[in-house]
């Protein structure tokens, strides 16, 4: 992943060698910063979840018989009887081997559990992100172009109303209206219970289940893209180069698409990349309302135990995703905006 923009940058800047070296330093510095953040997260992940109230062994044996020997055996099995520094060394050694430990609750490797949940999460939040970015940018640029019009007020108003509505409430209403009342979509899950035969029917089945949770997420988040796009385009509106473009005889549509929007797009790139990082974190609320088997929900449930290995694992995976996307945003911004490169 990280190679794509790096090579693009290198190819772009082939001619002036001095600037190329500057780019290399910049790339290295950005990557180094990212690595340092990940290192801190690894340490934090260990300490953070050991401060949580609750004894995992107590929670695991709640509501069922457990004698002291069994509790001691469980403690030994999970290494909870060892001193904290020793546990930390074990944790680092396991991590170096790519082993995130074994979940207390599911008695299975954390890596396996997280990978199983990653697909559904990326599908839901990824598709919601794409739809909301496209919708937000499109509506935002239109609204700014016809600033103050009925369209502007309606688009901005609706977006802000949806933005401020509680997700849980909106999701349940969508469920009541579109799933139960109009009988258009299922009430929960990612597939029909038990699954469907055949590849195409299975994809359609997932798509059918995806509509409501995806739309709920889009409704709640697209406002931020709309607002950022609208305000940055408004800043460009009075720029001289637009007058020049119009003077050339370009149609309004082309002026907007070719000249104004590309320049106004830069601030939105940062916010999009930040959200791409958070895609992995999913959306606990939407996942809860629509029973979507995602990663956000898994984390939330793990907190209640606390299932320390699972929490450590999700924290590391989620944080690495955010850090990676931040690094990409830094690099991508430089690629997109010559002014950043020049400075």
């Amino acid at each position: 992943m990280s190679e794509l923009p790096t090579t693009a940058v290198a190819a772009d800047l082939a001619e002036p060698p001095r600037r190329g070296r500057g780019t290399a330093v910049f790339v290295l510095r950005t990557l180094g910063g990212g690595l340092m953040s990940i290192g801190l997260i690894v340490v934090l992940g260990f300490l953070l979840f050991r401060v949580l109230p609750g004894d995992p062994v107590t929670t695991m044996t709640r509501n069922r018989p457990g004698n002291p020997e069994q509790l001691a055996r469980l403690r030994a099995e999970f290494g909870l009887d060892r001193p904290l520094p020793a546990q930390f060394v074990d944790y680092l050694a396991d991590l170096a081997r790519g082993d995130l430990g074994t979940s207390y609750v599911y008695s299975r490797p954390v890596t396996e559990i997280i990978l199983g949940r990653l697909g559904p999460t990326v599908l839901l939040t990824g598709s919601a992100l794409i739809v909301s970015v496209v919708l937000g940018l499109w509506l935002g640029s239109r609204a700014a172009w016809r600033h103050g019009s009925v369209f502007d007020r309606l688009a901005t108003g609706t977006a802000l109303v949806l933005w401020s509505v509680p997700t849980f409430w909106l999701g349940l209403l969508a469920l009541m209206v579109f799933a139960v009342g109009l009988d258009l979509f299922p009430t929960g899950g990612m597939t029909s219970p038990g699954g469907v035969d055949g590849f195409l029917p299975a994809v359609l089945d997932v798509a059918h289940h995806l509509v409501l949770p995806c739309l709920t997420m889009v409704a709640v988040v697209y406002a931020q893209y709309l607002m950022v796009m609208r305000s940055s385009l408004l800043e460009e509106m009075s720029a001289d180069y637009l007058t020049t473009a119009r003077a050339k005889g370009l149609r309004e549509d082309l002026v907007r698409r070719r000249h104004a929007v590309p320049n106004a797009l830069l601030p939105t790139v940062t916010i999009i990349f930040l959200h791409v990082g958070l895609v992995v974190a999913g959306a606990v609320t939407v996942e809860t309302v629509f029973s979507w088997p995602g990663l956000g929900l898994l984390t939330y449930q793990a907190l209640a135990v606390p299932d320390i290995p699972l929490l450590q694992g999700t924290l590391i995976v989620l944080s690495v995703a955010v850090v990676l996307m931040n690094v990409l945003a830094d690099l991508g911004y430089r690629l997109l905006d010559p002014r950043v490169r020049a400075s």
Binding site: L52, G54, D55, V57, T58, M60, R64, P65, G66, N67, Q70, L71, E77, T102, S107, R108, G116, R117, G119, P120, L123, S127, L154, T156, G157, T158, L160, L172, L173, L175, M176, V177, V180, G181, L182, D183, P186, T187, G188, G189, M190, T191, P193, G194, G195, D197, A202, V203, V206, A207, V289, F290, S291, W292, P293, L298, A304, V305, L335, L336
Partner: protein, 602 residues
């Protein structure tokens, strides 16, 4: 130009992301077993499945599936009395140490005969293999050996006599399948090979992690094939969505509803409601810092006043269990006295008129006066040592009605001059506080098995300081009786001892047992009927000790279903109403917003 290339790149990336994600989702589906034909009963579960491995699974949702898949040696029937399972008959030796079971002539779902060797294998694994002890290790703690005398005869030898032996709730697994998994007993998911080979009414034929478990009727089930062909447990993350699923028909049975959700389904012709008398109790723990059984020293930092039995009696007189039933639990509950719920009439305890403590604030005040706690200047009583009688009152946030309960309790206690600092916390914090004894009064509760042994054990000295401990009670006389009932193989004798034990707890006010709450369930009565309740008089369909609720279910004939479409129409009306509310509300907010922005501009 550069912008265009970026856009293409972004577009391709997005398409690739979507395709990959869809493929990932699709791949997950492709692995799942196809839903077989015939009738399908779908049950919404709001708890995750932790495992389908009977040696590991402990969540209620999972043990339900295990009970459907693997038959026990003996089990309890809808009447909560012991019934034959894989064992068709049994007898105990005169010393009560050796139990001989006659294994019935039945087959596993793959056609292999079920023999005593399967029984010996299962129990021996749990006794000897640490990886197999997670779920049921403590059930065999008193077992010395389990052997197969011949194919049809299994023998269990215990270290001490054990009256509760026939209630041992351990699924028996097929040796020919599990013998190759001995090394992975602690880590196997239990669904590696589908269909799962089992002996119960249903066997697992599909598992979508975090989403659903599909079970198909077992043709070789010894009691006879169940009437419903397919049983599916479908994961819902919240009960509100599950209720919507029930209205729409995505699921046929939902459980653990709140009173509000339950009431909202009233009058819907398609939906049957069941207010099931459940096997749980809700109690107030009083921290009287008893010497713990662990080291013989008082533990925790409970208010010293709670060590005086008169203060504990006064607290009991101050609270109004009937009001808790009516106003906190909306009537879906019954006042309790002992730790064994009335669903077990054989063991439950009702205090005599002489010992019974009813809601009586005047009596509470008199008892507190007598104990030396005189009203202070601010209404809070002050003890002989000058310390005000102000108690910490804690409750977990996992029960939605707890905040309300705390308000009522605080009111009742203040009325008799007891100061209260209420606090809601996470269930983990409650566990920590009750095990360590860092509280004064705590709202707590437990589920009770058909055999009372485990619940009675929770009040013994030996469990104090562990997560099993309930009230921190420690009384050698009680422990003596506990040992006696364990060895009492004559049921009448045992019943008498268990009554005396509960009476002792009641007189000592080990805790205040408040209520036995109902389990609220709802199902599509237009599609299914015949759910067997446990207990038979007003019990529960789901969460039973056994499989009776699901096993009894029968589909409603098709012609009746067609005539009974009232529920769907009701759903549409509700949906349209909701749509009107949403659109109306949205329009209002938009116009308001627009008006405001116009104002701002002018």
């Amino acid at each position: 130009m550069r912008w265009v290339s970026f856009r293409t790149w972004a577009g391709r990336a997005a398409a690739a992301l979507l395709a990959a994600a869809l493929a990932a989702g699709g791949a997950g589906v492709a692995q799942a077993a196809p839903a077989p034909g015939g009738t399908t009963l779908r049950v919404a579960i709001t708890q995750d499945i932790d495992s389908l491995n009977p040696f590991v699974a402990v969540f209620l949702s999972s043990t339900q599936v295990m009970r459907l898949t693997y038959e026990n040696l003996t089990m309890v029937g809808p009447d909560n009395a012991v019934q034959p399972g894989l064992a068709e008959s049994w007898e105990a030796s005169p010393d009560g140490l050796t139990w001989t079971f006659r294994i019935r002539d039945a087959q596993w779902s793959d056609g292999t005969p079920i023999t005593a060797r399967d029984v010996a294998f299962t129990y021996t694994q749990i006794m000897a293999n640490p990886a197999a002890q997670d779920a049921n290790g403590s059930a065999v703690a008193n077992f010395a050996s389990v052997t197969a005398v011949d194919d049809r005869t299994a023998q269990i030898t215990t270290k001490r006599p054990q009256a509760s032996l026939l209630a041992t709730d351990v699924p028996i697994v097929p040796e020919h399948v599990w013998t190759s998994r001995v090394g992975q007993m602690g880590t196997a998911t239990g669904a590696e090979q589908l269909p799962v080979v089992g002996s119960g009414p249903y066997v697992i034929t599909g598992y979508q992690e975090g989403q659903s478990v599909t079970l198909s009727a077992n043709d070789r089930f010894w009691r006879g094939r169940p009437h419903v062909d397919t049983l599916q447990f479908v994961r819902y993350e919240n009960a509100d969505a599950a209720v919507q699923g029930l209205l729409k028909g995505d699921v046929d049975l939902v459980r653990d509803l709140t009173p509000a959700q339950f009431d909202s389904l009233d009058g819907n012709a398609a939906v049957g409601r069941n207010e099931g008398r459940n096997r749980r109790y809700t109690e107030l723990l009083l921290n009287w810092s008893n010497p713990s059984g662990v080291d013989g020293k008082p533990f925790g930092d409970g208010h010293p006043a709670l060590r005086d039995v008169r203060v504990r009696q006064a607290l009991h007189h101050a609270v109004d269990a009937a009001a808790v039933v009516d106003r906190v639990k909306q009537g879906y509950s019954e006042p309790g006295h002992g730790i064994i719920p009335p669903v077990y009439p054989k063991w439950t305890f009702t205090p005599s008129d002489a010992q019974r403590r009813d809601h009586d604030p005047e009596k509470a005040k008199a008892l507190l006066d007598e104990a030396g706690y005189r009203p202070g200047p601010d209404g809070v009583r002050v003890g002989p040592d000058g310390r005000p009688l102000t108690l910490r009152l804690i409750a977990g946030n996992q029960v939605p009605t707890n905040p309300q309960l705390l308000e009522f309790l605080a009111g009742w206690l203040k009325e008799v001059g007891v100061g209260v600092t209420p606090q809601i916390m996470s269930s983990n914090q409650i566990d920590d506080a009750t095990v360590a004894g860092t509280f004064d009064i705590a709202v707590s509760g437990w589920s009770v098995n058909p055999d009372p042994d485990a619940t009675l054990e929770q009040q013994t000295c030996a469990v104090n300081g562990t997560s099993r401990a309930d009230s921190g009670y420690c009384n050698p006389a009680y422990d003596q009786l506990y040992a006696e009932q364990q060895a009492a193989l004559d049921e009448n004798q045992r019943r008498d001892i268990v009554q005396r034990m509960q009476s002792m707890l009641y007189d000592d006010v080990h805790a205040i047992v408040l209520t036995h709450d109902a389990m609220l369930e709802a199902y599509r009565a237009d599609r299914f009927t015949g759910f067997v309740l446990q207990p038979e008089d007003g019990g529960v369909i789901t969460g039973q000790t056994g499989y009776w609720g699901y096993y009894g279910a029968t589909p409603v004939a098709a012609d009746q279903t067609a005539a009974d479409s009232g529920g769907g129409a009701g759903g549409v009306v509700a949906g349209v109403l909701a749509a009107v509310v949403v659109l109306g509300g949205g329009a209002f907010l938009v116009t308001r917003n627009r008006r405001r922005s116009q104002d701002e501009r002018e």
